[in-house]
């Protein structure tokens, strides 16, 4: 079908507003302050302002304190956040806790949690990955066993984003025995992240703009009423959440790639070597031309995925996997070129290029790396080609 890739006036306004907001509230001095000196990695003042402009509840329906906008609108924000390298728990809170509650939560859960997220009063995170670091059901060794009206969660989670900032932690645990790799028997629990039995320890990560943690769950008691979705049926919810988060990350990556392209082009225009601007040398022109192509193609796939998400099209899985696989690799190529073309400066801590390089690495592995998504694409194609 012909898709209309143009943006509405409201969407153009949203983008302009987001860019202005982030230019003011999220300069690189802020990014570096949060990544190097702030334990939680975000500022509650900026968070509150984001709530005030309606970003935290952008896609939640109005009855739950949101503004009822579409997923493409959310991806416009992601685009701008990726460009600005916004640190902090936006993805964790909105995509990884808000969305699953909206998608699978009970009416009571939606009424209780979504307005708090939208108002900026609650930070959340999702604890799924464990020791093998892969997003698949066989990874889940953490167990939850019933005790009266509660479940007791025991296990160790890895790569949990923003666990110290979080008020609530959506946690995947095995609730019944199953064959290894079976999707059946995994349940999602909304735990109190401040519980004394939840022990987060910060992981030293390359991308310091998004903190990640090892989380020990030492007999964490969670009321049965805090199950999100159905008992034993948490994995399908996790898959949908991962798909949405992957889509959001493609927007972040496209925005980040644009920053890399623009910053590098500017440098090539102004840096003089051998008496000429660097950008007049053909070897460098060709390298940056390839980054430009990657930006164009990555953004196009991202926009296709956004349109599919927005209309809840049957193409969502293939579009998101194609966009994620492509953008993940293209962002690596772009940031690699960005470092190289800046020469010694690009390798220097004080230059911002490495922040994007590291974010590209983090975003590549998050919610399925490019190899994982290419295999999914192969499976979808297999089903389409009879």
């Amino acid at each position: 079908m012909v898709m209309d890739y143009s943006f509405s006036e409201e969407q153009e306004m949203l983008r302009t507003m987001a860019r202005d907001f982030l230019a003011k509230e999220c300069p690189k001095t802020y990014v570096r302050e949060m990544m190097e000196h702030d334990e939680k990695g975000y500022s509650p003042e900026v968070w509150k302002k984001m709530a005030d402009v309606g970003w935290l509840g952008l896609v939640f329906p109005e009855e739950y304190g949101g503004t009822g906008m579409g997923f493409r609108d959310l991806m416009i924000l992601g685009d701008e956040m990726g460009r600005a390298m916004l640190p902090g728990p936006f993805v964790s809170t909105v995509l990884l806790v808000g969305m699953p509650i909206l998608m699978a939560g009970t009416e009571e859960q939606k009424k209780e949690y979504l307005p708090k997220i939208a108002n900026g009063d609650m930070i959340g995170t999702l604890a799924v990955l464990e020791q093998d670091g892969d997003l698949w059901p066989g990874s889940i060794k953490t167990t939850a066993s019933r005790r009266g009206d509660e479940y007791i969660i025991r296990g160790k989670k890895l790569f949990v984003p923003d666990a110290k900032a979080a008020d609530v932690m959506l946690c995947a645990a095995r609730t019944k025995r199953a064959e290894e790799g079976s999707e059946d028997g995994i349940t999602l629990f909304l735990a109190n992240a401040k519980d004394h039995a939840v022990w987060p320890t910060e992981l030293k990560t390359m991308d310091m703009t998004r903190k990640q943690y090892e989380v020990d769950l030492n007999n964490v008691a969670v009321p049965a009423a805090n199950i999100v979705g159905e008992l034993h049926q948490g994995w399908p919810v996790i898959k949908k959440v991962a798909l949405q988060a992957a889509a959001f990350l493609t927007a972040e990556m496209a925005g980040g790639m644009d920053w890399v392209l623009e910053t590098t082009v500017e440098y090539l225009k102004t840096r003089i070597a051998f008496g000429r601007p660097l950008g007049s040398f053909q070897a460098l022109k060709h390298r940056i031309a390839d980054v430009c192509s990657d930006c164009e193609m990555g953004r196009s796939l991202m926009e296709w995925a956004a349109l599919c998400m927005n209309s809840d099209s049957t193409d969502v899985p293939v579009a998101v996997s194609m966009a994620k696989a492509f953008c993940a690799d293209a962002y690596l190529r772009a940031t690699n070129a960005g470092v190289q073309l800046h020469g010694g400066l690009g390798f220097t801590w004080d230059h911002d290029m490495h922040l994007y390089f590291k974010r590209a690495r983090a975003n590549n592995t998050a919610f399925g790396d490019s190899n994982y998504h290419r295999e999914l694409v192969a499976q979808y194609l297999n089903a389409e080609v009879l």
Binding site: Y5, K269, G279, A289, S300, L301, F326, A378, L381
Partner: protein, 411 residues
Amino acid sequence: MVQREESAKAAAFRAEVRAWLEANLPKGWGTPEYVPLPRGSREAHEFGKEWTKKCYDAGYTGFGYPKEYGGTERPREEIQIIREEFGRTGQPPGPSSLGLLIAAPTLMAAGQEWQKKRFIPKILSGEESWCEGFSEPDAGSDLANIQTTGVRDGDEWVVNGQKVWSSASAFADYGMLVMKTDPDAPRHRNLTYFFFDCKSPGFSRRPLKQMSFDAEFGEMFFDNLRVPHENMLGELNRGWYVAMATLAAERGGGATAGSGGGMMAAAGGARGRMALYGVSSIIELARETKRYGKAVWDDPVFRQKIAQIAIEVEAASASGQRMMARRRKGQLIDEMVSITKNWNAEMRQRRGDMVMEIIGAYSQLIRDSKYAVNDGTWVYDMLRSRGATIEMGTSEINRNIIAERVLGLPR
């Protein structure tokens, strides 16, 4: 490739186009029984003319041109459906002509009213074929170094010189010609753009065989060829700028041809199923082909590579649609078409190389060889795709254009 949801009206129109194609495509099309006419042959050319006329008469081509010049007007969504359906089945190649790709866009951009009225309709209908005369032995990527000269003699210009790598020159009725008309003027301001009748005395041509075994291009010789002054396209000594516009049009066509899209005026890229709709054919091939006793499609390494090609095809398609949206809003830098051109040409090479890996030892067998896979079509496309990164501006020239005209880097 990827099925998208659409309205009942659009679905009905899609069914109509599909039925027309089923009724009109040559017998056996899309199956191994179909034996294509030899590439570059007179019969193939004539067949292509008939096919083009058929599509034009049915209203499936001629988009983007005003009615008074023979253009076909249709809603955008219908045009897209036509392109997708033609792209899905593929279609026989049209005549060997650069009429749609270059002549018509150039006439639109620089032609006088009589020129547009006289020539564009017959280009759209396929009745008259065109070729181009840009490159010369000493003027390839450095096109401004053209040495063919024209000297004015009353109402005519007397032309002497030689062109080479001129696409579609063998059977063309008309030729486009860029020549030096002022020996003393500086580079870029000494060339004028003309067209000429290929039946004129003083013109001769010779096919030039390509590494792909066929001869889609040729050499053209001008020995006191007389061209009427009224055949000038654009202004005197401003031919460079007309040619630049022409090349942009050519890249635009070449850019969309590989992606299941198709040129603005033509229904599809006329390059057949392999080039236009490669991914599903590759999957079928990978399922049927066994290497070391195992289906290629079950090999994760090949699955990764095939999926990557599918992603790159889809990226080009999405980028094309996004460019259309940006063009409507006046937000598109025209030179971005260089991105698409390079993307498709280089992807076509990667795809060709990958298919050679799939078929292994059989990648050595070409057309008419007893055991050639798909009568050597895959091998042909692999070979032919080497030209894709050279014609219409080499990949290197296009990277310069991207860097200088899209990104604004200094020359």
